[in-house]
Symmetry: C2
Subunit: 286 residues, 2 copies
DNA sequence: TTCAATTATCTAGTATACAAGATATATTTG
DNA sequence: CAAATATATCTTGTATACTAGATAATTGAA
C-alpha cells in the first residue's frame, strides 16, 4: 500500500546514442545441441533460451498471475458477461500497480474475453455465437488431422499412456469430480496432439475452445455424461490401436458432436450472455 | 521530443469506494437491429458498439500504429530474425512514450513474432520450423472446411465477385506487381471464407500464416508463379460453380501444396533465420 | 596472455502522475 | 414535473521515473 521509497540515483547525463552494437545471437547452430563453441563463457546460462514454442519459464510476472486469474474466472463463468473489470480494484486486491494489471487486461481483450470501451470501461465480453459455431467446426477439422497423424505415429507405450488418462477419467467420473475430469479431458486431447507431433495445432484449438468452454459452463451437469465421454475416448483409442484412422476420426467426431447440441436453448435462456454478430450473415464479399 | 506540459488539477480527496453501480449494458436485444427503444438518448453514439468480431473502429491508438508498423516490417522480413527491438529508439522515432510501444511489443510477443528476454532485450523471433509445418497442415484442413461450405452457399453473384478478384490478380501478375498480387491473393481466400460464413476461421488461418509468410518472403520470385496461382484459383472457382465440393477442395489442396516445397533448402541457406524446436520430436506424452 | 572478478551500462518490469473523454448525478429552466 | 444543461467523478490512455537483473566492458591476478 504505502509508497515504496524511491530515490533518484540516475542523473540526466546524456549517453552516446548509438554506441550499443546490436549483439547478434551467438548460438548459431539451430540443430539439436551442437554445443561446439566453448569460445564464450557461461553466457546465457540461467537465461531463457530463445527456443521457440516454450513459454518463458521465468519467474512468474505479476501480469501473468493477474492474467491467468482473470482468465480462469471468465472461462469458468464466475465472472459472467457484462461484469465490469475494474483495474483499480484489481490493483488494490493484488497490491500492485496498474501497469501489470493493464497488461493482463489487454491480453484478455486480444482473446476477446473482455471488451475495452476506450475512455469508459472494461467488461467481460459476451460469448460471440459466431465464434462458437465456427470454433466447433474448426475444431472438428483440426482434431481430425491430429487423430489421423496420431494413429499413424502412436507407439504401444503411447497408447498405454492414453489409456491411463482414460482410466483416470473413469475414476474421476466415479468420484463425480467434474473440474478434475475436465482437466483430464484436456490432457487426453493434448496428449493425442503430442503423439501426432502437432502440439501447435492443439494450441490453436485451445485458443478457440475458450469461448466454447464458457458456453459449456452454462450447461447443467448431465447425469452419465462423464461416463459417456470416457467410453467415447476409449473408442478413439481402440481405433488408433487398430491403426484404423478413419474409424478413429469417426469416433472423435461422434465425441465432439456432443457439444453442438443445444446452443439455441441456452441462447434463449441467457440472452445477455451471448452476442450475435450480424456481419456473419452479410453476404457481400467485396 | 519536449516534455508535454503538465499541471496537477486533481486533488488527493478520498472517494467513496464502492459507490459506482456497475451499469449493465442497456442494449438488451441480441438479434439483428431490434431498435425498439428510443428511451435512451444519443448514448453510445460515436462509441464503439460492443458487437463482437469487429475490431474497435475508434481513432487509431498509438500502440496500434506501432504494432502494425513493426508487424509489417517483421513479416516482410525487413526486420530479419535476431534484430533487436529497441523500445527507446521506437519511442524517439514516433515521439511517444514507452507505454504504447511496450503495448505493441507485447502483442507481437504474443504472436511469437518477437522474443522478449526479461531483463535483457527483445529480438525479432526466428521462424519456428515446427509452426511452419503445423501451420501448413492446419491451413489445409481449415481451407477444406471453408471451401466445402463456400461451395454449398455460393450465389452466382459471389462467384462473379471471386472471378473479379482472380481477374485483378491476372492483371497484377501481368504488371509484375508482386506485393499487390499477394494482397489480392489474401482477398481471394478471405472472400471465400466470407462466402462460407466462416470469417473467424479465416482469421485463425491468417494468424498461423504469419510465420509462413515470413518464410515465403525468403523465396525468390519464381517466373510464372503468379500466373500459376491465378490458374489454380480459377480451378477452385470453376469447381465451386459446378457445385463440385470435392473437386474444389482438391484444387485448393493442389494450390496450397505449392508452399511446402523446399523448406529444407531455405533452412540450410539461412540457418539463423529458423529455429528448430526439439520438443516437437519428443515422444513423451505424460 | 588468459582467465576470473569487478564495474558500468544497458534492458525489461513496475510504480505513479497526469490527460482526455465518457457516464452519471445534480442543477436549472420551460 | 419533465427535459435539457452543467458539473462531478469515474474510466482508459499516456508519460515519466525508478528498480532489478542481465549483458558487455574493464580491470586485475595467475
Amino acid at each position: 500500500m504505502a509508497a515504496i521509497g524511491q530515490s533518484t540515483h540516475l542523473g540526466e547525463g546524456g549517453r552516446s546514442e548509438g554506441d550499443r552494437r546490436p549483439r547478434e545471437r551467438t548460438d548459431k547452430g539451430t540443430m539439436a545441441d551442437s554445443g561446439t563453441g566453448t569460445r564464450l563463457r557461461a553466457r546465457r546460462a540461467n537465461n531463457a533460451p530463445p527456443a521457440h514454442g516454450i513459454r518463458a519459464p521465468r519467474a512468474a510476472k505479476n501480469s501473468e498471475i493477474v492474467y491467468h486469474d482473470l482468465r480462469s474466472d471468465i472461462i469458468s463463468m464466475t465472472l459472467v458477461p457484462g461484469t465490469p473489470i475494474l483495474e483499480r480494484e484489481i490493483t488494490e486486491r493484488y497490491g500492485i500497480s496498474r501497469t501489470p494489471v493493464r497488461e493482463a487486461v489487454l491480453r484478455l481483450a486480444e482473446e476477446r474475453l473482455v471488451d475495452v470501451l476506450p475512455k469508459s470501461g472494461t467488461f467481460v465480453s459476451r460469448i460471440p455465437l459466431s465464434q462458437l459455431r465456427e470454433g466447433i467446426v474448426a475444431r472438428r477439422a483440426l482434431e481430425e488431422v491430429i487423430v489421423r497423424a496420431a494413429t499413424a505415429r502412436a507407439t504401444p507405450s503411447q497408447i498405454l499412456s492414453l489409456r491411463a488418462i482414460i482410466q483416470k477419467q473413469q475414476e474421476l467420473a466415479d468420484k463425480g469430480d467434474e473440474p478434475a475430469f475436465h482437466r483430464a479431458d484436456e490432457e487426453f486431447h493434448a496428449s493425442i496432439a503430442t503423439v501426432a507431433h502437432y502440439p501447435g495445432i492443439w494450441e490453436v484449438i485451445q485458443q478457440m475452445r475458450v469461448q466454447i468452454e464458457r458456453y459449456r459452463r452454462l450447461t447443467l451437469p448431465q447425469a452419465g455424461r462423464m461416463q459417456l465421454i470416457v467410453r467415447e475416448h476409449a473408442a478413439v483409442i481402440d481405433a488408433m490401436e487398430n491403426c484404423d484412422a478413419d474409424k478413429a476420426v469417426a469416433c472423435m467426431n461422434v465425441h465432439l458432436d456432443k457439444l453442438q447440441l443445444d446452443i439455441a436453448v441456452f441462447r434463449d435462456l441467457w440472452p445477455d450472455y451471448f452476442i450475435y454478430d450480424p456481419a456473419v450473415d452479410t453476404d457481400l464479399i467485396a
